[in-house]
């Protein structure tokens, strides 16, 4: 295993940039993963790991995880504790990092499937939480559009591996996807915090369904709302103006699968 001890090593600089920049990830079709368990999840899920970085102590402490990662045949490097600190997002890095190939983007829907669609969700913790919900409740997939950066390191951490396991649909244009879905018999719903929208408990959730959830601050775009067949809402008994986006997504996904 080649050793890297310089923070200025080109491979380290490349990895840091992958972690920091959404456009750099997009341009290179790769993403950066930190943590013993997450990197192991990538290996187990069949995500293509291109490079892996381990500190000597991590190779010992997380030997079972490290072996599974090394067994994928990726290029492996041993790094110093100082380099691990440079790569890490946390104060006490576990010392295992990977560069992974991004999944091929697909726009393909299962027209009889159940989906959540996220438009422009900004908070990576919310994004990760929604991925976990989609996996836990067994939805057919998650549609991500707009500024949803599923490979943001904080989103990856919050997703606890689920974003690598669920079926992701990444349309160029959410409106076109919704129109195509409706033309193929799917129910398409825009969730809005408006009391005149249909109660989520009272609409048909049979067959193929997409429920759209919008940005934390501004909600769904007008064009996405108009592209949906109906607007739905979670009736609010209290005085709050709205839910946290991932809490709303959880309730909607639960109704979808209930």
């Amino acid at each position: 295993m080649e050793k890297i001890t310089a923070r200025t090593n080109d491979k380290i600089k490349y990895a840091v940039r992958l972690g920091e920049s959404a456009s750099f990830r997009k341009q290179n079709g790769e993403f950066f993963l930190e943590g013993a368990r997450l990197c192991f999840d990538a290996a187990k899920t069949g995500v293509e790991i291109k490079q892996a970085f381990f500190t000597a102590s991590a190779l010992e402490k997380y030997s079972a995880y490290a072996e599974s990662i090394i067994a994928t045949g990726c290029i492996c490097f041993e790094i110093s504790g100082d380099v691990a600190k440079k790569l890490s997002d946390t104060e006490n890095p576990q010392g295992i990092f990977c560069i992974c190939k991004s999944k091929e983007k697909t726009e393909k829907l299962n027209y009889s499937g159940k989906y959540l669609a996220l438009e422009n969700l900004q908070d990576p913790s919310n994004l990760g939480a929604v991925c976990r919900t989609v996996e836990a409740l067994g939805l057919d997939g998650l549609i991500v559009s707009g500024g949803c950066d599923i490979n943001n390191p904080k989103a990856l951490r919050a997703a606890m591996g689920s974003s690598m396991r669920i079926s992701l649909v990444e349309p160029q244009n959410l409106v076109s996807l919704l129109e195509d879905a409706a033309a193929n018999g799917m129910q398409t719903y825009a969730s809005v915090p408006r009391s005149d929208a249909s109660d989520i408990r009272k609409v048909s959730l049979e067959g193929g369904v997409i429920i759209c959830v919008g940005n934390e601050g501004s909600g769904l775009s007008q064009s996405a709302i108009e592209a949906c067949k109906d607007a739905v809402t979670i009736p609010m008994g209290g005085r709050a103006e709205s839910f946290n986006a991932s809490a709303a997504a959880a309730i909607l996904a639960w109704e979808l699968m209930r």
Copy 2:
């Protein structure tokens, strides 16, 4: 309005420490609030504001909010932009900050009410999201115990004012509260990610109910689980091991009020 231009001013140091330290907040019975809207929410909700700090530009930009805060009769200071940066948790502070009196702690339950109880929830974003859910769905209150630090600045921000409006119950001892609740006819449920627990859709949620949600990593303590009448779970169809804590809380609260 007295002017403060030194970062080392004692009042500023006190405010910073309130924001940073849970034990200092507890010791002084006060908490620190940042943001034009949140400080306005405090004023509107009737939270006792002891001191308020404004930059000159904030007094102009957020004049309506500032006037409501000043009208509470609190001691007001004008601060420089540099001092605002010292006080702020964000890169571009809005320039409005308050020191508020913490609510009197209560252990009193409405025995016919619907409650979520949180034990040791660590992530302030989750805590804030649960407060919003409790308010939006109109639960009778939120029980917080263990390490749940409701006045953490990040939790306050995520709650968007809801934590100041909902009814909070803060027991010295969660187990004693659960036993008292059960003795007074309430249903008490421990939510666990275990498939042998009762399906949340199939248990009685009539009358007074408490559903307990545990720590993100380790779940509920054994003593809390044992103090509850039954263990409930959200059936998971997929491969994920569990939900994000605030997503689970949202689904459970929704079932409670559904």
